[in-house]
């Protein structure tokens, strides 16, 4: 789907917070919608070969992307390479971005994570002990408190993702953790946890199905 079609009147209008009455509570997800609308506008400018839009997108999402790929690769140089490759791919493939498939930030994170996993798998590098808790994100869920430094972007989303994850049984969080943050295949997860492959598949599917509902508003906000 080309952007020309995808942009057809579906982009939410950015809300100017200066016009809001301070006593009014900002509607849920408005910040998310506004943020993504700005991202989509940048993608549209990138389609028109405006490289300043690429710079702006980089400024907005470089840190989140770097954090994710550094966590996977554990190597600053390689993580920086992946960040550069990801934004370059975003520039080259901007026209292939489909708002109906999610927010710009998730598109970027997906590209970056896949590139990081490709590097991991090409070198067959693995954490010595994937079950070690020090590298596990979901084993002990971080506090949902909002960091003021990132309050403007993604904090609300992070809080809600954490809340949704808290509702999952630990064994389901574990397979997500090993699959997403450690980059293990389902066979490797089965070996690491000592569970049958079928059980791993079932846990993955149940975890995803349970997360879908509480997080569905973010897919809708991206459209």
């Amino acid at each position: 789907m080309l952007l020309a079609f995808a942009f057809g009147g579906v982009i939410p209008t950015a809300v100017d917070s200066r016009q809001m009455n301070p006593s009014e509570q900002e509607p849920p997800y408005t910040r998310e919608i506004r943020s993504n609308a700005e991202d989509v506008a940048l993608i549209r400018r990138m389609c028109d070969a405006d490289e300043t839009a690429l710079g702006a997108l980089y400024d907005r999402w470089m840190r989140s992307l770097y954090s994710l790929v550094f966590h996977l690769l554990k190597d600053a140089d390689e993580a920086e390479d992946v960040v550069e490759e990801t934004f370059w791919q975003a520039w080259r493939k901007a026209a292939s971005y489909e708002p109906s498939r999610g927010a710009v930030s998730t598109w970027l994170l997906t590209i970056g994570r896949r590139r990081a996993l490709d590097r991991l798998r090409a070198k067959d590098r693995r954490r010595e002990d994937p079950m070690a808790r020090d590298g596990r994100i979901l084993a002990e869920l971080p506090s949902p408190e909002v960091d003021p430094a990132e309050a403007a972007e993604g904090a609300e989303r992070r809080t809600r993702v954490l809340a949704a994850l808290r509702e999952l049984p630990e064994e389901q969080r574990e397979v997500l953790d090993l699959g997403y943050f450690q980059g293990l295949s389902q066979t490797e997860i089965a070996m690491a946890t000592g569970q049958p492959l079928g059980t791993v598949k079932t846990r993955m599917r149940l975890a995803m199905q349970k997360l879908r509902e509480p997080l569905s508003m973010y897919r809708e906000s991206a459209q």
Binding site: D75, G154, L215
Partner: protein, 308 residues
Amino acid sequence: MTNLSHEEAYSELAAVALDAAPSEVSAAVREHAVACPECGPELVAMEETVALLGQLAPQWAMNPGHGAGIRSRLLMRARGERESRSSAAPGPPDLARGVASLTGLGHKLTPGSQRAIEEEVKKVLPQQKRKPPFFRESGLMALAASIAFIAAAVQLVRVTSERNAMRAELAARANTPTRTDSVKPVMSEKEALIAAMAGPDVKIVPLTSKSATRMGRMFWNRSSNDWTMVVYTMRPPKPGMTYQVWLVTDSAKISAGTFMPDSTGHAFMQAKYALDRNALKAVAVTEEPAGGMPVPTGAILVSGSAGP
């Protein structure tokens, strides 16, 4: 595995969304999902859900200098690509080429081509002589016009050829490195280095080891934001490790880059990073895994206080 039943594909959707399925299974599931009204939307929803997990990665800050470098490179590449795209569009027509093509001989006329034109002229002349008297006058006028046109074309081509030859020669001269050209970058580099390490606004931080042995200096040009570090007698780091330089402020330890000493223990490193002129408290060097770390993890081996 190329043909999956609906049930098989459905059971693999979560693994595919997580990139945790074998590549051949992933390809087969995606092929099925394209046409399946149930699996297609389900896979999209799962992939979007999975991507939200990326928000939970612990936050790491990239080395600011590296981050700025990546940004600059991206913008330069993007600009270059845009410009090459626009320059690939057809340009204005070449007048010389158009005129030469009128002669039927193309625009790349050489002395051989000119002879061909002259032969064409010779062919025309006898034909004109065979014309009956009734046509002689008008024929002669046409012949004269033809000769004049061809002569003009030949002259134009000759001038064009000479111009092209001169341009080629100039281009060749421009591309030929002269002794002066080869010295220029070296001189510029040295001038830049002197500017970075000297001047009224350069702060010098002496660096010492834990045993207070002098190890080198950090030169901070607060006007140009250039950081130049020189160290000596550094032992090689352990295998798989590197040395990393940190700019220590009250609130952060900022990576200024990594370095490896040479065989004599000397090392030289430069970085560009804007820092408030009163913010620097110290400079420190730690040993870190190859590639460097976003925050220091090793013990401080070399350090220097920025002083007042």
